[in-house]
Amino acid sequence: MSVIPKNIIRFVFFILFQVLILNEVPPLHQFIVPYIYFLYILWLPFNINRFLLLLISFVFGLTLDYFTGTPGLHAAPCVLIAYIRPYLLNLLIPQETTEQSYVEPGHKSMGWAPYLLYIGVLSFVHHFYLVLIEWLQFGNFIYFIGKVTGTTAISLLMIFITELLFVRKGRYRANK
């Protein structure tokens, strides 16, 4: 499947999975909210235009907001991680080899350690910003720290499970 239809299908799938399944899960603890939808942004191709990346992330976040009834709450962190993403990728991977031979970020194209760092940093930034916005509206400091930590941990766990469940072929760009 080529890149564009695949990403459109992912868009729909991630939104529906987050809205219809994860948002329905009864909360285990006030600090733990399962979020995985932003993995869509992390999985977008390497060579995507930066402005397009920001625009897609904004639309993606806002789509989720339409379902939860909080306009802008998820859109803002999505745009933030989309903005940071190219800089982080530049730091983490060897320019010449990986970016030119692979289509999108993954443990096969980057190696486990840089990929985990990439996922970890962006998940943390996403949750930090998301909870910060919530916290500015209400809440206290312990709530803020606890929720960022708890939510990041549960997200990383779910992303790890997702990677094990859905094996993405680390495709070479030449085979496209």
């Binding site: 899960v25 379902f67 939860t68 209400f138 809440g139």
Partner: protein
């Protein structure tokens, strides 16, 4: 001039990033302050229709529970029928009242409209419910929403066929409440931690509160009729610095499996709210 364009072009990504951030924050702040419709009703209808299909699927799994709740409510209402409280005949003469108008001045204040829940969240800080009944079917902003077990929330936004309800589990939700046994009033809020517990503030310390006391809606509310069940007292905390109790209330409504609710229309809502807002201007 050329330099300005070059500057903008150089930092184009950064500027678009800032633009998107500003848009998001503006949307968020304007929406959470006023609860006005930023969402055009069009978008509401699209997400509403997806939510509707999904809730149709989920309904099958909850049928048994819904049935039980409705049966319980039926039994309770049957018990309240006036036929269960016969009056001993004392009169001697039967007079047929030929007046069409109720000469005692009774009027209908509250009307109940049933509605199906097609969207519901409990995990966020700002939880809303979506009902499959909109302004075309008589829903108005500010109407109270009550489930079979207890109250649920207040309508904040309507589109032609869908309406959006601010759940009691919303950080800005505030409902006037009182203790059933001695009518001491306070206000119900949510602290955002546990979806099965609410907080009742500003109950005077002279009230004799005990765990398990029933909390009902007060007579002061413009949208809620009085004496609808909210929950039961589950914990009492009193700070020595204030004259008020803060009570932890177990909700009567189970927000996790709510399926059908009643919207309650107060015929004198506009009149009351207008008068209340007038008095604020006079201060």
């Amino acid at each position: 001039m050329k330099n300005i364009f070059l500057f903008i072009r150089r930092y184009f990504t950064f500027f678009s990033f800032l633009l998107f951030q500003v848009i998001s924050i503006v949307l968020l702040s304007s929406a959470s302050k006023t609860h006005e419709s930023f969402f055009s009703s069009g978008a509401n209808e699209i997400t509403g229709s997806i939510n509707k299909k999904y809730s149709g699927l989920k309904d099958f799994f909850g049928l048994k529970e819904t049935n039980r709740l409705l049966a319980e409510e039926n039994a309770r209402l049957r018990n309240a029928l006036s036929i269960n409280f016969p009056v001993i005949e004392k009169g001697k003469k039967i007079v047929i009242d030929s007046l069409v108008r109720d000469s005692l001045g009774h009027f209908r204040k509250y009307t109940y409209l049933p509605a199906k829940v097609i969207g519901n969240t409990v995990t966020l800080q700002t939880n809303f419910l979506f009902l499959e009944r909109g302004s075309n079917q008589g829903v108005k902003k500010g109407m109270a929403v009550c489930g079979p077990q207890g109250i649920v929330g207040v309508v904040v936004e309507t589109s032609p066929n869908i309406s959006k309800v601010m759940s009691l589990l919303h950080r800005n939700s505030k409902v006037s409440a009182m203790l059933k046994k001695d009518n001491n009033s306070g206000s119900i809020e949510w602290d955002g931690t546990d979806p099965s517990y609410l907080t009742l503030r500003n109950v005077t310390k002279s009230a004799k509160v005990a765990n398990g006391d029933t909390v009902v809606t007060s007579t002061y509310s413009a949208n809620f009729p009085s004496h609808l069940v909210i929950g039961t007292v589950a914990g009492i905390s009193s700070e020595s610095s204030s004259n008020f109790y803060t009570l932890k209330i177990k909700t009567a409504t189970n927000f996790f499996n709510i399926q059908y609710v009643n919207l309650i229309e107060n015929a004198r809502y506009t009149e009351q709210v207008q008068l209340e807002s007038n008095s604020q201007k006079n201060q």
